[in-house]
């Protein structure tokens, strides 16, 4: 039996297929403006890799920002629960999870594998992955590299603006003053970390702490957060897929809860269509 977790993030879409014992495959693709609605194709790609068809998948759980309207998912679960489950499976000792996604960041508290509390910021781009994307764009540095580069800094600049837009201008000003990219990036990471930390603090940061989500791929940000937290943090080997992993774990549990007949009926009902994001239909141009 196979179980699939589909995490349609604001920025990156992740699919993970597992069986009883192990993770079989993962696919990670930008959600991108054009691809948002094409989660079905990403699913297809994962299936092709394993030579499977939809009929082989017992249960599909969708999560993430775009989970709401996935016609082929058997269940929708919030990314909060999914990240929690994924991390808990990987690192049972973790009590506090910091998830840094593309358009939001979250603090999640776990106790004995149960979600006990959470906070999130989804109103302001400061302290989200988007903030770092904007800055790396501006500096002409690849997102993958900003973490490493910032670690070279000797004198991090102080970025005083919270707002992404103002921080962008502050960065420009620093550039024209001749500040090095390393120092600017280090300053940017500090500013982000401080913002994220002050939010997560609201639910009390307790050991062990894991950082997950796309932001955890950024070593500069992780280090800056670690500095704030004051003790070492855990970063999973592939932080992007913890949500999808959690979703797949839930999928396998759900399968056990229902009868074969119900399962088959569910599978028949799956519609292999595009995903819609917004309730209100925009007018076609």
């Amino acid at each position: 039996m196979f179980y699939a977790g589909l995490d349609i993030g604001s920025t990156i879409t992740k699919v993970l297929i597992k069986n009883e014992r192990k993770v079989c495959t993962t696919v990670i693709k930008p959600t991108g403006a054009e691809h948002r609605r094409l989660a079905n194709e990403i699913m297809d790609e994962a299936l092709r890799k394993l030579n499977l068809t939809t009929a082989n998948i017992s249960y599909i759980v969708a999560t993430g920002y775009g989970r709401i309207n996935v016609p082929f998912a058997d269940k929708q679960v919030t990314e909060i629960t999914c990240h929690m489950r994924g991390i808990n499976w990987l690192f049972p000792s973790v009590k506090t999870i910091i998830d840094i996604g593309g358009q939001d960041s979250k603090g999640i508290k776990v106790d004995n594998g149960k979600l006990v509390n959470f906070v999130m910021n989804d109103k302001c781009a400061a302290g989200t992955g988007r903030f770092l994307e904007v800055i790396s764009d501006l500096l002409g540095v690849k997102l993958d590299d900003i973490g490493e580069i910032s670690l070279q800094s000797t004198r991090p600049t102080n970025i005083s603006s919270i707002c992404t837009v103002f921080a962008e201008q502050e960065t420009l000003l620093q550039l024209s003053k001749g500040t090095s990219i390393e120092d600017i990036l280090a300053g940017i990471h500090r500013a982000s970390a401080s913002r994220i930390h002050s939010m997560v603090k609201k639910i009390k940061i307790e050991k062990d702490v894991a950082i997950t989500g796309g932001g955890a791929k950024n070593i500069g940000l992780c280090k800056a957060l670690e500095e704030r937290v004051g003790f070492p943090v855990i970063v999973p080997p592939e932080p992007l897929i913890t949500g999808a992993l959690g979703a797949a774990l839930i999928a396998s549990e759900e399968t056990k809860k229902i009868s074969k007949e119900e399962l088959i009926e569910k599978q028949l009902k799956r519609r292999w269509e595009a995903v819609t994001f917004f309730d209100e239909k925009p007018t076609k141009g």
């Binding site: 403006a33 781009a125 988007r130 837009v165 141009g285």
Partner: protein
């Protein structure tokens, strides 16, 4: 008969005017583009050139704006709020409320009959209500800033944005494009989102007529129209809404030092 320069060195645009005896002789505008010094020089040249003057002919300089400290000549710094209100009231003496939509922030200023500030309110620390968004979205849509207004006016069904954040608005605009929403509707939707923010401030301050709108945002006819509708007021726009701050700076420095 002395010559006075007024400067408004904004985060996006640098503006200069030359005045003589309270008459406007010439003006110039240059992008600031993160290099204030060269913007100041360029804008001074423009204004001086048009007035056929040299910097040595100038008796006084008054300046406001974020980048004023970069001015390489001796000058008097005046508060942005006072300059906006004086300059605007010079152009349109009947105004009592001024809405300025600048690049980094928006302001609501209540103006007295003498063109002085009665009260003011500034959007701060968050770009959600500022003119910067117009630029960002224009870039996304590959539209010239100048054409935004016209396009907005043609909208039939403005898109409803789910966020106020300038950065998320950009992302959302990109998605809307991908989903097939028209540029017109996206721009009009943006104008509505921006209006909602500014209207909230305006109501805090209270709108006394006549109301005027200045700053870069005032160049955008679509924005001005939607704002007027939302606030239920006719919003006047000066002929050149960008240079009101610079005019004010010149007028105030004349009074103070002239």
């Amino acid at each position: 008969m002395s010559f006075i320069i007024g400067l408004d060195i904004g985060s996006a645009l640098s503006k200069a005017v030359i005045m003589q005896d309270k008459t406007l002789l010439s003006s110039g505008i240059s992008p600031s583009e993160g290099n204030f010094l060269s913007a100041i020089n360029s804008v001074l040249q423009k204004a001086l050139g048009k007035a056929k003057l040299a910097i040595s002919d100038i008796d006084l300089i008054g300046a406001c704006g974020l980048g004023a400290s970069f001015i390489p000549h001796s000058f008097h710094k005046i508060s942005d709020i006072s300059c906006q209100s004086r300059g605007t009231s010079y152009l349109l003496p009947t105004i009592r409320t001024l809405i300025e939509i600048g690049n980094q922030s928006s302001r609501i200023i209540q103006v007295t009959e003498q063109g002085k500030v009665a009260d003011s309110l500034v959007s701060d620390k968050c770009a959600a209500g500022s003119g910067r968004i117009l630029q960002i979205v224009a870039k996304v849509l590959k539209v010239d800033l100048k054409d935004m207004g016209q396009l907005s006016l043609k909208s039939t069904q403005p898109v409803k944005f789910t966020t106020g954040c300038a950065v998320f608005l950009e992302t959302e605009a990109i998605s809307r494009v991908a989903e097939g929403a028209s540029r017109e509707n996206i721009i009009a939707g943006l104008h509505q989102a921006l209006t909602a923010r500014i209207a909230a401030m305006a109501h805090r301050m209270g709108l006394k007529e006549d109301c005027v709108i200045t700053g870069g945002g005032a160049k955008d006819r679509g924005l001005v129209k939607i704002m007027g509708e939302k606030m239920g007021k006719t919003l006047l726009v000066p002929d050149n809404p960008l240079i009101t701050g610079a005019i004010g700076a010149a007028l105030i420095v004349t009074e103070k030092k002239g």
